[in-house]
Symmetry: C2
């Protein structure tokens, strides 16, 4: 092969650059600038993370784990982004009721839709799970998966938190984005395992968290294959398929991944079984963490387990708090452990 003199002289740099471009998509190095945990304060929590990664990736360590088995699972709501005053997907559903109302004149008098359209969320949800399910099915089903993906993309690019007025995508926890990138930079495969809708997260999770669609696990409704308007499509049906919450999380993890995680991060009672599945009865190094929302000044404060106010959204109960202590799960204090909560500038 002919190479000019200057190419030969610059070959090492070229080869290293080549390395970078080849590796970037696979290892998520486009987000590697965050992989330094710089938003984490020094202290026992950060130390536990760094030590876990060191001991599982050092070939000389008795806790060494081969790359293929480095599976880390993260809850989404309240773990990777803010979940107060209500789940972002609930905001989406309510907004969609308003957007679809012109096509549904009957909603003006029919509950729970009538209350939603009057702006009375409490009234709408007075009908309990049945009302909520009706709202979800009316707003999440009936279209193809391609159409739903576009609806979510359009909505999320402008949606704002009703309390802080910040875009919801800017209320993503910066320390968690760094932790995801840090794990990936050390050969971990990072998955989202959320009680939220799998197709509500997939359209933006890659860009925001560096987690591709095939590494998102969540709740789902059924779909049906058909050729619609000359295109092969999956149509979303108004029927629950899977609830990826509580005891459903280990089930969803195994169904999608086929491997037991060795690291899992959550923030509420819905994550208990995921952390148990990751840790209970297994030797070797395990990282199990729960985010405690104890920072009223910078975010929200809730979690009766730690003496903070109760919340229907993302309950961190006394029982979970006790279990975390007993099993040695790390409780992350947003106040003490995080230098900043959201992206720089917020």
């Amino acid at each position: 092969m002919f190479m000019s003199r200057s190419v030969v002289r610059r070959a090492p740099e070229i080869a290293i650059l080549l390395c970078f471009f080849l590796l970037a998509p696979a290892a998520g190095l486009s987000r590697a600038r965050h992989a330094d945990l710089s938003s984490w304060n020094d202290g026992p929590t950060k130390k536990a993370i760094v030590e876990f990664v060191r001991t599982t990736t050092d070939k000389a360590s008795p806790n060494y784990v081969p790359p293929a088995e480095r599976i880390a699972t993260f809850d989404n709501d309240g773990t990777l982004w803010a979940e107060q005053p209500m789940y972002v997907q609930a905001m989406f559903a309510l907004d969609r009721v308003k957007a679809l109302a012109p096509q549904h004149p009957e909603w003006q008098t029919q509950e729970p839709f009538a209350s939603v359209l009057k702006g009375d969320v409490k009234g709408a949800l007075a009908g309990g799970d049945k009302a909520l399910l009706e709202i979800v099915m009316a707003t999440h089903a009936g279209m193809t998966t391609d159409e739903f993906q576009q609806i979510v993309k359009d909505w999320i690019s402008t949606a704002k938190n009703p309390v802080t007025k910040h875009p919801v995508l800017e209320m993503v926890c910066q320390p968690m984005v760094e932790l995801l990138a840090y794990l990936r930079a050390h050969g971990y495969k990072t998955f989202i395992v959320s009680g939220g809708g799998i197709e509500f997260m997939r359209p933006w999770a890659e860009q925001v968290y560096g987690v591709p669609p095939e590494q998102v696990v969540g709740s789902s409704i059924k779909t049906k294959f058909e050729i619609r308007d000359g295109k092969a499509a999956l149509v979303r049906l108004p029927e629950l398929n899977f609830i990826d919450d509580r005891e459903g999380k280990p089930v969803g993890i195994y169904q999608h991944i086929g491997r037991r995680p060795i690291a899992a991060v959550g923030n509420s009672d819905g994550d208990r079984q995921m952390l148990e599945y990751t840790t209970v009865g297994f030797g070797g190094a395990r990282l199990a963490m729960l985010v405690l929302h104890d920072d009223k000044a910078r975010e929200f404060a809730y979690g009766p387990g730690a003496g903070l106010p109760d919340s229907h959204v993302g309950t961190f109960s006394q029982a979970l708090y006790d279990e975390a202590k007993q099993r040695g799960w790390v409780v992350i204090s947003m106040q003490k452990d995080w230098k900043r909560i959201f992206s720089p500038g917020h």
Copy 2:
């Protein structure tokens, strides 16, 4: 940074070596020795594969596809390995009935088990789907997922095809192993999408095909989370969860991957909707292929669509054959397109 003179001189080679080691686990380069399609005869089929990969990976091509969207899905039975005279998983189920019989004295007189134990497979299956389901549930449920994984690993390491007497793991199609590796070497993520059981394939698919558990999609039974004997476990329940066949294949693909494949390979009527989902109504380059088992001398010959004998296992019907022609799907002739069928030595 200090570097000795010889290190500086050898830096390009070192950087390239480094590249190789860094890339190897991600891109499956451990199997790259197979990535040359050397078991494929030159001709229109091989040319279609090479041209598809060239046009989707060349940045200057109008059909260029970014790496994240390079999704390729492969059927397993009859596509990646032999499926005659019966599905390998059916052999497994029958063997498990025999292995479990001492714990089930009632099976000596109870159908369909009594027929299985007498070696009368036809008699056992005379009860249709109900009988088959009973055999599957009796042999695939009741244990934890960890236990089932071990049972499959132990069985498959010694299982032999009843006709050829070759180990079933040596009746893996070498040209397909090469095609999987070839696609991965060009930035494709390869998935198995099988009507067979997801947990029956995962324990060996990584070693045999280079496809990790999280990239296997298949049929499944339900599981339940519990702490059993002090260990967090998923217990396999005798209840169907999902049938990943026919119209179920696009559903399973979207549920697991969240992206539409741009390449799909199958061999029977069960793969029709997967190929439609990959191709119908979408522009850009698509690779859709069906393996025709037309090589009685080296494997088996069946496929009424192409004038070959019919088969209950892996039917390639006239309707599928016609659709393949109409839509321009590639029909792979094992006889003409494959230099060898199984690993060298067979």
